[in-house]
């Protein structure tokens, strides 16, 4: 904790006398940072080299702090928000209720048969990711991916306990006892605590949050809750605490996929070699003539959480977190050169510059139009679907064992299980009617049918199963074929002046005739 201060003065601070490293200049001391994961030093079968990312300051770091705070807040707070979903339904705003077979998202309630909305959401998510990647490269990786968010959070803890880069490196060289042991234990304890909270928050999305939270600590929660909390605790701890950049480089398929999604117009974190080279140490009084702006301070390497050197160009490891931009801009300001030696830029503009042309950005191009219109189309479909979504559904299952029953007087009976699905929030009455048959009689299990009108009540959020038997007299059978197409309709019974919802299903009546 105290190291933080020391660090700042050592690395960035006003070491104006220039008595530090050999190529100290402008008060910037070159960092002895190695791009441990650069292509040059990369070897098959090489053990992982620990990275000690240095804290960066600047615009992108600020944006990342903001996103870190916002996304974590959403993740931990969302399940606690209450929302009235009507009778017979839980009052949690966001809930994947597997036990009750419902998915709730604020005003939206989805039944299992409407899972295509979730498919739509996933497609929408995929195309949004494609679009963002086509425009801005790996912004998802750099700013919003849980792996980045939680790794950042874990590094915050690490920095708080062990200090910034240099202090951490120093500490790692000490034997594992005394202060180092204490700090290490403390750090891992906090990590595990965060991991546990992460895992425990995950299960809140699948159960009523206050209930499961108390049941969890009383040992009364279902086994799956403990299992998933355990799995998430383990993955959070190991992925964000121990594995970090290896997840992005070795486990995640996204770095490979993104190569196909970016093109020469994609904004990516770029080292403008034409401006920076030839690099080298620079003394304050020296001229900038005949050399590049890069003073080779390696601050961009020191802040990199992936252990690469952005000056080597576009690399698979780079998650486009833009921390090197922050680091470099800070240095450029200090040495009085224009910022943007490392900046978001496109491949095309780098080439244009070589030809002496002016930079040009084309945001609207074939692939962004394609992704954009697909997003608009699917989004419109989903909005249309959700806004016109019926709160009444009907499923008719005809008896198949046996398909028909011949009665003693020669008449034939078919059985139907009519499922009236009331997705509404109140109890409603419905009339079930058959069309396509004449001279038939209806029998409903558990109900005295006085006329041909069958009325049923369906409670809020309920599937009302109505078992119906339809009997056709012998006279009708003899003139019909082997099966008669019928339509079963369910009509909501409402007070005058209100629109009634209706649904219909097609089925057949099997006569048993050849």
């Amino acid at each position: 904790m105290t190291q933080k201060k020391t660090n700042k003065t050592t690395i960035i601070g006003g070491n104006k006398t220039g008595t530090g490293a050999a190529h100290d200049s402008h008060g910037i001391e070159a960092v002895d940072a190695q791009a441990v994961n650069s292509a040059e030093s990369r070897e098959l079968y090489k053990s992982r080299v620990q990275i000690y990312p240095k804290l960066a300051h600047g615009l992108y770091r600020k944006i990342k702090w903001l996103l870190l705070f916002a996304t974590l807040a959403i993740y931990y707070i969302l399940p606690w928000i209450r929302w009235d979903h009507g009778a017979n339904a839980p009052d949690q705003a966001v809930l994947a209720d597997f036990a009750g077979r419902r998915f709730y998202f604020f005003w939206i309630e989805l039944w299992p048969q409407e899972v295509y909305y979730i498919t739509g959401l996933l497609i929408l998510g995929a195309f949004s990711l494609f679009l963002a990647t086509a425009l801005f490269g790996r912004v998802w990786c750099g700013y919003a991916c849980p792996q980045t968010i939680w790794t950042d959070l874990f590094i915050v803890v690490e920095r708080w306990i062990e200090g910034d880069r240099n202090a951490r490196i120093k500490l790692a060289k000490q034997p594992m006892r005394g202060q180092r042991l204490m700090k290490t234990v403390f750090k891992h304890a906090i990590w595990l605590l965060i991991s546990f909270v992460t895992g425990a928050a995950f299960i809140l999305y699948f159960h009523d949050a206050p209930t499961i939270a108390s049941a969890f600590f009383l040992g009364k929660a279902p086994g799956s809750a403990y299992l998933f909390a355990g799995i998430l605790t383990f993955t959070t701890y190991s992925l964000a605490g121990l594995m970090r950049e290896q997840v992005c480089t070795y486990l995640c398929p996204w770095p490979r996929i993104q190569a196909a999604l970016t093109d020469e117009d994609t904004l990516e974190v770029t080292y403008r070699g034409y401006r920076g080279e030839p690099r080298g140490p620079h003394k304050k009084k020296d001229s900038w003539e005949g050399r590049g702006d890069c003073i080779d301070c390696k601050l961009c390497v020191a802040v990199c959480p992936m252990g690469i050197d952005i000056r080597d160009g576009d690399q698979l490891e780079c998650i486009n977190c833009a921390l090197c931009i922050d680091a470099c801009d800070g240095v450029m300001k200090k040495i009085g050169r224009p910022i943007g030696l490392i900046a978001y830029d496109t491949e095309k503009n780098r080439l244009r510059h070589e030809c002496g042309e002016k930079p040009s950005f084309s945001i609207i191009r074939a692939r962004t139009i394609a992704y954009g219109s697909l997003i608009a189309l699917i989004g419109a479909l989903m909005v249309a679907g959700l806004s016109t979504r019926s709160t009444l559904d009907l499923n008719v299952l005809r008896d198949r064992s046996p398909t028909y029953v011949r009665l003693s007087d020669g008449s034939v009976r078919n059985g139907y299980l009519v499922k009236v699905i009331n997705k509404g929030t109140i109890t409603r009455q419905f009339e079930i009617s058959f069309s396509g048959l004449s001279d038939y009689s209806i029998k409903v299990v558990g109900q005295k049918v006085t006329s041909e009108k069958v009325l049923v009540l369906a409670k809020a959020d309920e599937v009302r199963n109505v078992k119906m038997y339809v009997t056709l007299p012998k006279s009708q059978i003899s003139v019909s074929g082997s099966s008669i197409p019928i339509t079963i309709e369910v009509i909501e019974q409402v007070a005058d002046g209100k629109t009634a919802e209706t649904q219909s299903n097609k089925s057949v009546f099997m006569t048993g005739m050849k």
Partner: protein, 291 residues
Amino acid sequence: MTDKPELDEHSGVYTTGHEWDGIKELNTPLPKWWLYINYISIVWAIIYCIFMPSWPGLPGMGYFKGLRNHSERANVAVALDKLQAARAANAQSLTSISLDQVENDPDLLTFAMAAGRSAFGDNCATCHGSNGIGSVGYPALNDDVWLWGGNLDEIKQTITYGIRSGHDEARFSQMPAFGRDELLSGSEISDLTELVLAMGGSDHDQSAAARATTNFEEQCSICHAEDGTGDRYQGAPNLIDSEWLFGGSRSEITETIANSRFGIMPNWEQRLQPWTIDSLAVYVHSLGGGE
């Protein structure tokens, strides 16, 4: 072979120290992840042996029961008790009201139907077929033909005590074996067959049927009624409908008259709980033929 392990410069790994016909082998270490999982498994196995049932055949105590005293058998018993407790309220209300009332209570009906369906599958479907479609000798339960009555109480009585089950309350009747016991001659039996075929509206020999009229009145009408419509008090089938329990062909009817055929249904009073029988009655009644 006691050669000393030597460092292989190319790979940086020591050899095993052995040499076979000039061939040396690198002592490549096991992959760390594999080795650690192996160690963890060993530790886990020891912990498991302490807490869970392990080590059979210990003198004096049978098997070692483990500190957790875990028993799957006990778990099943607990789970079954839980199930009974969960069903207790519905079971209680099911038995406390008449079955007619059950059919008018949607919630109770749903419960009875679900319980009845599974009980039917476990106990009844073996003979009566799934969904009560029946087969030769085993009545179909989904049509409108009932030997002993098809209202809820009659169905419940049949299930509770059975038919010819030996229970004191069981439904009982027995058709004589007219041929085997030599009550009627062969020709009389074949004449009667023609008459029964005539009653059912099938092709028959009219003169033979006419000859059997007297025998039918004397021997058959007591149970099957003079018009052949049967009698539910005695479980005597209706002979004039088109439904046949043991088949309606000439040879099948002759066989029935000559040797007498009837089935036995066990009583379920002692095997099933009262509420299960109630559920079964409701379920069977709902199969379509309920009266």
